[in-house]
């Protein structure tokens, strides 16, 4: 059977309308229509994300004419010699120029990736790859009707260094919030809880390319980061920064790691739990415990060519101090598990369960922590009443017996009773956009095609 992991996410956009997510094509278009009148660069500038002193440093190109570089502009700013850049462009006739778009399809609101709840300080943090931000809310906040909830803090802007931000996690004792960049950025950033606006991170750690998940173990004073393409879990000291090398790496064919995403470093049960999409690239990961690239001075080199393959998604469990090419202690995998693009995971040490944001079928699946093999979940949250759409993040609040879900396919974080199952409504909804606002779903998009038969534009994520 083919798993959902084989399929690419492709947003299909009509020439003038958004049809993503496909399950909800009737969403209103008013906000996106407004975007067509605005320059995204202006929006970024208004939000402090482009630090160019009002645009004087930007090369000005006039439509249907010659290029004009302002004095002291692009060339001077970018090149110490003061030469215009690119050379000869200023004197070369070119068609086009600084042309405003006829239409723009974009989402002006945050799109939620991961969620992390802190019961000690009554806060919840979410990461937002759309606007390159981390937002925080009061843990008890909720939308009363259709309105968005105002965040307590929003970390966003050029000083933050955040790019294609992926997972977020928190350290309640030290009141620090951690986030990691995925396909562009290759950095892990740490901010104090009260940071807001265009602020520098407290610490920055270079991590391998395609990092996705983060987990902190207070008991071990370590943090774990998953890396998609390298199929590895990289463990650092909690306070690592700069180019500090990892203390160990789990990688190699015995590990069963395949395009790993969610991770939980469980210092209580002394285990490392990883959610795998199952994708195996064309080169076998180099066995060992050295960093593959970046994040350290060593390079483990290129692995043996084996050809790519799709394996079934899985949860794999290792000893917390595992290093190198080690087989998992347990593996939840198979048709009965229902795993399908498992994203973030959360281990509930109090109730001995593990919750999975199962993006591929829009569900949350909960397993016993010690389950292994082809086992069905003990509970599944799924259905139209749940409001779960493209879940990316999950967290468990064992103090208040609640389960948090962050939706990538809707502008919401949802709070359920911890033991909720089936097609039930959430206890609370935390909206970051007015209800009904469409989510375009772009996340670091890299290509586009035109379907001339349907007059549609295709965008892979």
């Amino acid at each position: 059977m083919l798993s959902r992991s084989m399929f690419a996410v492709v947003a299909v956009l009509g020439a003038t309308a958004v049809a993503w997510p496909p399950a909800n094509p009737s969403l209103p278009m008013a906000d996106l229509g407004r975007m067509s009148e605005m320059s995204l660069l202006d929006i970024e500038r208004e939000n402090g994300c482009v630090d160019d002193g009002g645009g004087d440093g930007v090369l000005r190109v006039e439509r249907a004419g010659t290029l004009a570089a302002p004095a002291g502009g692009a060339g001077a700013a970018a090149d110490p010699a003061g030469a215009a850049w690119p050379p000869t462009w200023a004197s070369t006739p070119m068609r086009g120029g600084d042309v405003p778009p006829a239409r723009v399809v974009s989402d002006p609101y945050p799109i939620l990736h991961s969620v992390a709840v802190d019961t000690k300080n009554e806060r919840v943090f979410v990461s937002d790859p759309n606007r390159h931000a981390i937002w925080s809310y009061d843990r008890r906040a909720a939308s009363r009707a259709t309105e968005a909830v105002r965040p307590l803090t929003g970390i966003r802007g050029p000083a933050t260094g955040m790019m294609f931000v992926a997972a977020v996690t928190v350290d309640p004792e030290r009141q620090e919030v951690y986030s990691v960049d995925n396909d562009i950025g290759d950095r892990l950033m740490v901010f104090p809880y009260e940071a807001t606006g265009n602020v520098r991170p407290k610490r920055v750690l270079q991590v391998p390319h395609q990092a996705w998940g983060i987990s902190i173990s207070r008991e071990r004073d370590e943090l774990a980061v998953t890396v998609e393409g390298a199929r590895e879990v990289v463990i650092y000291r909690r306070e690592a920064k700069g180019n500090d090398p990892p203390v160990r790496v789990v990688r190699g064919p015995k590990t069963g790691l395949g395009d790993p995403h969610g991770v939980f470093l469980d210092g209580v049960n002394r285990e490392l739990v990883v959610a795998n999409h199952g994708n195996q690239g064309g080169r076998q990961p180099v066995p060992g415990d050295q960093p593959r690239r970046r994040g350290g001075p060593l390079d483990a080199g290129r692995g043996t060519f084996t050809g790519g393959r799709f394996e079934e998604p899985s949860l794999t469990v290792y000893p917390a101090d595992a290093r190198g090419d080690v087989a998992p202690l347990r593996r939840i995998q198979g048709k009965r598990t229902g795993l399908n693009w498992p994203m973030a995971i959360a281990v509930d040490r109090k109730n001995d369960e593990v919750a999975v944001a199962n993006n591929g079928d829009g569900s949350i699946r909960v397993y016993r922590r010690t389950d292994t093999g082809d086992v069905a979940p003990v509970r599944t949250l799924k259905g139209p009443r749940t409001g779960i759409v493209g879940p990316m993040g999950v967290d468990i609040d064992a103090v208040n017996d609640e389960l948090w879900v962050s939706n990538y396919g809707d502008h919401t974080a949802l709070v359920f009773a911890r033991t909720a199952a089936g097609d039930v409504a959430p206890k609370r909804i935390l909206r970051n956009a007015p209800a009904g606002s469409p989510t375009v779903g772009f996340g670091n998009p890299g290509a586009v095609a035109y379907d001339s038969k349907r007059d549609e534009i295709l965008v892979p994520n």
Partner: protein, 271 residues
Amino acid sequence: MHGIFYDPVHDEMVVPVALAGAVLTLRGGTTGGEAPIRVLQGPKTELVQPDTLYVDVRHDEMIVDSGDDAVLVFARTASGDTPPLRRLKGSHTKIRNPYGLTIDSTRDLIFVANRTETGETRESTDGILVFNRTDDGDVAPRAVIAGPRTGILKIRQIVIDEPRGQLFVTVKNNVEFYDVEAGRFTPWNPERTGFIGVWDATDDGDVPPRGVIMGPASGLIWPAGVAINPDTHEVYTIDSVGNALFIFEMPEFFFRKPAPPAPGAGASSGR
């Protein structure tokens, strides 16, 4: 995913899956979790981490970036663990980390958007490599569009308007330059926002583009993908920092009278 191709002749959508060393062909208009029509994957394919591809419907072939500094040519309908028909690979080809591919089936040319930039310096020798369509092995490109006058830094997708002989190219024009010690935190460089450049298919050397979309009014920051609709004179681009799709109306880019379509060249403009 960094690539996609729509084949209007066979009504198919083709995508590379970098993390699984695969190429999937899906039915046109597919939605949800529909299974692919074909899966190309396995050790014989030589696919490591394919990022981009293009389909030549006239010659019924498909070119794919191997993810290992090579361009592989397969039969369009290749499926399973099938070896490539031809490959461009080796030091003479200069191929390194392609981010875009396109084919001029009339002039029998392959264009490779070549990414030599490593992120460690702020300049690059990124460029467009041009090969004969049937080249095979470690052969030198017949032309190279690269150099400071091109403005190409961090090149991405490329698509040809075959009847008019024009290449549309996205250039991010920016390296991810983040230096904590130097106090530089801006994740993208506003002094060098990206652009869409238009070159002739016959261009060679260090030549500026003949057309450009760039500047604050355009809204482009890091344009990553490009597609065209010559019938409406529209240029589509997707911006990976702005997370936005831009539609530009650019009649000045489609001013030339198109050459008559070659037999079977249904996707000549990359549509």
